[in-house]
C-alpha cells in the first residue's frame, strides 16, 4: 500500500479532485468528493469497498430507525393519559431505542471483528478461513466512526442523516479513510456536505500542511526505518544500548509517519473546507502517561473515552462498585480504585484495536497499569508534598516529569513494535540488564542502516520538530504565521518544504519504500 505521499495521490487524485470540485455547482461537490473517495478506495482495496458501503447503509438505517422511534415516542407520550402511562411509554421506547443502537454497533463491530481478527484465530483452509477476502483499507478507523455515529444519534447529539451518500462520504472521505483521524459526524458532517468553494487561503494553508507532513514522513520517518527494522527483526543480536536507540528512533518514526499522514488529512480537508479534528498535540511535552494519550492519537483516545470509558463507568453495576469503594476508601481513592474497571475495558480495547498479537495486549496492559497506578501515585505524591510543603510546580519538576514520561512512552512503543509479547520482554530485559555504549564507541551503530550523515540529519530534524512543538505549545503556529504573508512568501514556504523533501527525503535507490504505518491497524 502506498502512502498518501505518492505520485498518484499528490500528482493525480488530489489535484484532479480539487479541479473537478471547484468546477461543478456547490450542490454536486460532495458527490465529487464521494466519487474521488470511492475511486481511491477501490484502487487500493478493490471490491472490498462493498464493506464500507455496507457499514454506511447499516448506520443510515439505524439512524432513520432511531429518529422514527423518537417521533413515535413523542406521539405516544402526547396520547398518554397520566404520568404512569408516560413512564411506561418512556420505558418501552428506551428498550426499542437500545435495540436499534445495539444492532448498529453490533453490525459494525462484528464486521470489524470478523474481517480483521477472525483470520488470526481460525486454522487456515478451514470453513471459517476468510483470509482470502482480505482486510478492507482503514476498517479499524471507519468502523469506529460508524459506531460513533449511531451512538451519537442515539444520545441525541447528532441528527439522523437522511441521505445515505453523506454517510458514505463520512466513512470513506479519502484523506482520512486510511489512518483516520477518527472524526465524529457532528464535527465534519456539515462541512463535508456543504460544498464550500475552494479558497486561496484554504488551498495555501492546506498545501503547506501537506508539505509539512511530507517532510516529516519522507525525511525523518522513512530514514530511520532501516535501522529500526534491522534491530527489531533480529533483536537478540544487539546490546541494550542499540535496543534503546532503536526504540527511541521507532517512537520518532511512528510519530513522524502517523502525524505526517494526519497533516495530509487535515491539509487536504482544509482545501475542501472541512475541518478535521487534530490527532496530535505535541505528545512529547506530556508530563504523565495519561496526558500523553490526550495528546497522541487523540481521536482514538477520545473515542474510547466517550464510547467505552463513560458508558462503562456510568453503567449501573459499575456505579454500585464505585459507591461501595467510596464508602470504604473515601471520596478520592474510592472512585479512582473503581475507575480501574472502566480503564481496564478501555485499554483492553485499545490493545486489541491495534491487532491480535500478544504484544498489543501487553501494550494495553502496560498503559492500563501505568495510568491507573499513576492516579494513586499522583494522590500519594500530592499528600506527601502537601504535608512537607514541597512545591511540585517548579520548572525542574516539570522537566523531570517530561523526561520520565518520554521514557515511559519509548518503552511502550518498544512493546508495540516487537513481534510478540515475549520478544518485547526479552528486549526490555536486555535494555535494562545489558545497557552499554559499546556500539556507539566502536562505530558498529553506523552499520545498522543509518550513516553519520543520516544521524546528523535526524538530529537536525529533531531540533526543528522540538522548536516547532515549543512554539505551538505557547500558542504560536509557525506555519499559520507564515501563511498570511503575500503570495510570494506563501509560495516560497510550500516550495521550500517540497524541495527539502525532494533532496533530503529517504526515497529511491538506497531506501526501501515504507508502507504507511498506521494503515495496518
Amino acid at each position: 500500500m502506498e502512502s498518501y505521499f505518492s505520485v498518484a495521490m499528490l500528482g493525480v487524485i488530489l489535484p484532479l479532485t480539487v479541479l473537478l470540485y471547484q468546477l461543478v455547482p456547490p450542490r454536486v461537490r460532495p458527490y465529487v468528493l464521494l466519487a474521488a473517495s470511492c475511486v481511491f478506495y477501490a484502487s487500493v482495496s478493490g471490491v472490498l469497498i462493498a464493506f464500507v458501503l455496507l457499514s454506511a447503509v447499516s448506520i443510515w438505517l439505524v439512524g432513520l430507525a432511531l429518529s422514527s422511534l423518537d417521533r413515535q415516542q413523542a406521539a405516544a407520550r402526547a396520547a398518554a393519559a397520566d404520568s404512569d402511562a408516560r413512564r411506561a411509554v418512556k420505558r418501552r421506547y428506551r428498550r426499542y431505542r437500545r435495540g436499534a443502537v445495539t444492532v448498529g454497533v453490533a453490525v459494525n463491530i462484528g464486521l470489524l471483528a470478523v474481517l480483521r481478527y477472525l483470520p488470526h484465530f481460525v486454522p487456515a483452509g478451514g470453513v471459517l478461513d476468510i483470509s482470502g477476502i482480505g482486510v478492507p483499507m482503514g476498517i479499524s478507523f471507519y468502523s469506529l466512526q460508524a459506531v460513533s455515529y449511531v451512538v451519537d444519534v442515539y444520545r441525541g447529539g447528532v441528527q439522523a442523516e437522511r441521505n445515505p451518500l453523506r454517510l458514505a462520504l463520512f466513512l470513506s472521505f479519502f484523506p482520512q479513510v486510511m489512518e483516520g483521524p477518527i472524526s465524529r459526524y457532528g464535527q465534519v458532517g456539515t462541512s463535508l456536505s456543504a460544498g464550500r468553494p475552494i479558497t486561496v487561503d484554504g488551498l495555501w494553508s492546506g498545501s503547506v500542511r501537506i508539505m509539512w507532513g511530507l517532510v516529516k514522513k519522507m525525511v525523518v520517518a522513512d530514514r530511520v526505518n532501516v535501522l529500526v527494522k534491522t534491530v527489531f527483526s533480529d533483536h537478540a543480536a544487539y546490546d541494550g544500548g542499540v535496543i534503546a536507540l532503536a526504540a527511541t528512533l521507532y517512537t520518532l518514526q511512528l510519530y513522524c509517519d502517523f502525524s505526517g499522514t494526519m497533516d495530509f488529512a487535515v491539509g487536504a480537508g482544509r482545501i475542501f473546507g472541512v475541518t478535521m479534528p487534530e490527532n496530535f498535540r505535541q505528545p512529547f511535552a506530556s508530563r504523565t502517561a495519561a496526558e500523553f494519550w490526550q495528546r497522541w492519537h487523540i481521536s482514538l483516545g477520545a473515542w474510547f473515552r466517550d464510547y467505552v470509558f463513560y458508558p462503562v463507568s456510568l453503567s449501573a453495576p459499575v456505579k454500585r462498585v464505585t459507591g461501595a469503594a467510596r464508602r470504604v476508601l473515601g471520596n478520592r481513592v474510592g472512585p479512582l480504585a473503581a475507575s480501574g474497571i472502566a480503564l481496564g475495558c478501555v485499554w483492553l480495547g485499545n490493545g486489541i484495536w491495534h491487532g491480535a498479537g500478544s504484544q498489543y495486549l501487553l501494550f494495553g496492559l502496560y498503559y492500563f497499569v501505568l495510568i491507573w497506578l499513576g492516579g494513586f501515585a499522583g494522590l500519594a505524591g500530592d499528600a506527601i508534598c502537601g504535608r512537607m510543603g514541597v512545591s511540585r510546580s517548579g520548572a525542574a519538576w516539570r522537566a523531570w516529569q517530561r523526561v520520565r514520561t518520554l521514557a515511559v512512552v519509548v518503552v511502550g512503543e518498544l512493546i508495540f513494535r516487537a513481534s510478540s509479547a515475549g520478544d518485547a520482554l526479552a528486549m526490555l530485559g536486555r535494555l535494562v540488564g545489558g545497557f552499554t555504549f559499546a556500539s556507539a564507541v566502536d562505530g558498529t551503530v553506523l552499520g545498522l542502516g543509518m550513516d553519520a550523515a543520516d544521524f546528523a540529519l535526524v538530529a537536525v530534524a529533531i531540533l526543528v520538530l522540538a522548536a516547532v512543538g515549543r512554539a505551538r505549545e505557547s500558542g504560536v503556529h509557525p506555519l499559520a504565521r507564515l501563511c498570511p504573508a503575500p503570495y510570494a512568501g506563501r509560495a516560497a514556504v510550500v516550495m521550500t518544504l517540497f524541495l527539502v523533501a525532494i533532496v533530503f527525503g529517504a526515497y529511491g535507490e538506497n531506501y526501501q519504500p515504507v508502507d504507511p504505518m498506521y494503515a495496518q491497524f
Partner: protein, 327 residues
C-alpha cells in the same frame, strides 16, 4: 511584476503568479539537479547502474550495436567476444530486472553520443510489469535528476557545484558480466518451448513503450531487433507468439534463439548457472557466436579490426581473453 498586473482581473493575476511560481520552482529543481548529479559516470562519482551507463563514456559514434534488456542480456551477450569473433563494436546497457521505462531512458542516453546500426532488445524485459506511477517516476528522474541522485547531498564537494557533468568512463567488459561464469546448475527442460497457440498477454503500457522505443530507433537510423535469449525459465511459446505478433505490428525483426532456425544449441546440463534462468559463460559464448553471425550476415554490421581508431578495442579484448583464462 505586481505593478504591471494591477489592471488585470484577479483570476488572471493569480494564474500569472502561479505560472511564475512554478517556473521558479522548475529552475530551482534544474539547478539542484545539476548540483547533485554525479560529475562523471563512474560508481565512485555516485553513478547509479554505472556499467549500463558506461556506454555514454565510449568514444562518440564508436558503438555499432547496442544491447538492451535485463539480466538475461548482460549474462548472454559479450561485446568483447563479439569484437574478437567479428570485429563488431557493441555495448550492453542492461540492468537487473529492467523495466521498459528504464530501457527507454538508457536508449535515449546512449543515442545522445552513439549512432548504432542495430539495437538489440532482449525480450524478457518486455513482459515485466510496471505501473503508470513507475513510468511517471522514471520520467521525473530523467527530466530532473535530483529525484534520482538527491541522496548525494551526503557526499557533495565543491566540485559538484562548480564542474560540468562529463562522461569518460566505460565498463571494462562493455556491460557483460562474469559473475558465476563457471558455475553450472542443470535446468529442467520439461515443457520448454512446447508448441501452443496461446499468446502471453502484454500490458498496454509495455506495448506503448515498445512502440516508443521502436520509433526512437527509427529516428536515429538504427534497426531495432527483438531477441529472445535461451532460457528455460523465462521463455516459452506463448511469449514467443506474442513477441512475434508485436514485432510484426511494429515492423521490426524478431529472432528467437530458443527455437526455430535461429535456435542456439544450449546444453541445459552445463550452460546455465541457475537451472535455466541465466546462462553461464559457456552459454553466453554460444549465444554471442550466434548473434555475431546474425549481425554480420543479416545486418551487415562492419568489421573494425585493424582500424587504428579502434586499437583500444584490441587492447580490451586482450585483457578479456587473459581474464577468462584466469577464471
Amino acid at each position: 511584476m505586481i505593478q504591471r498586473n494591477k489592471g488585470l482581473p484577479l483570476p488572471l493575476r493569480y494564474a500569472l503568479r502561479t505560472v511564475a511560481a512554478v517556473a521558479v520552482f522548475l529552475v530551482v529543481l534544474a539547478v539542484l539537479s545539476h548540483v547533485v548529479m554525479p560529475k562523471n559516470n563512474q560508481r565512485e562519482f555516485g553513478q547509479i547502474d554505472a556499467r549500463a551507463n558506461g556506454v555514454m563514456g565510449e568514444r562518440e559514434g564508436s558503438v555499432d550495436v547496442l544491447f538492451l534488456g535485463d539480466s538475461e542480456a548482460f549474462s548472454s551477450f559479450s561485446p568483447l567476444q563479439l569484437w574478437g569473433d567479428r570485429g563488431i563494436t557493441s555495448y550492453v546497457s542492461a540492468t537487473a530486472a529492467q523495466r521498459l521505462c528504464y530501457t527507454r531512458t538508457l536508449l535515449a542516453r546512449a543515442l545522445k553520443r552513439q549512432t548504432p546500426r542495430v539495437v538489440v532488445l532482449e525480450t524478457n524485459c518486455t513482459f515485466a510489469r510496471f505501473s503508470m506511477a513507475d513510468a511517471a517516476r522514471r520520467l521525473l528522474k530523467d527530466v530532473f535528476p535530483v529525484f534520482e541522485y538527491h541522496d548525494r547531498w551526503k557526499i557533495l564537494t565543491a566540485e559538484d557545484f562548480l564542474s560540468p557533468v562529463r562522461y569518460t568512463w566505460a565498463d571494462e567488459l562493455k556491460g557483460f558480466r562474469l559473475r558465476r561464469a563457471l558455475e553450472a546448475k542443470p535446468a529442467d527442460t520439461q515443457g520448454y518451448m512446447e508448441p501452443t497457440d496461446e499468446l502471453t498477454p502484454m500490458a498496454d503500457l509495455n506495448r506503448a513503450y515498445l512502440e516508443q522505443i521502436s520509433q526512437m530507433c527509427k529516428n536515429a537510423g538504427a534497426r531495432l531487433v527483438l531477441v529472445s535469449t535461451p532460457s528455460t525459465k523465462n521463455w516459452n511459446m506463448a511469449r514467443h507468439n506474442r513477441i512475434a505478433q508485436v514485432a510484426d505490428e511494429l515492423d521490426v525483426d524478431y529472432i528467437d534463439l530458443n527455437s526455430g532456425s535461429d535456435k542456439v544449441e544450449i546444453d541445459w546440463q552445463q550452460d546455465t548457472y541457475d537451472a535455466g534462468d541465466h546462462l553461464n559463460l559457456r552459454g553466453a559464448q554460444k549465444v554471442t557466436r550466434a548473434i555475431g553471425s546474425i549481425l554480420a550476415g543479416r545486418y551487415g554490421v562492419g568489421d573494425h579490426r585493424g582500424d587504428e581508431a579502434f586499437s583500444d578495442w584490441d587492447e580490451a579484448h586482450g585483457r578479456y581473453v587473459k581474464r577468462l583464462s584466469e577464471l
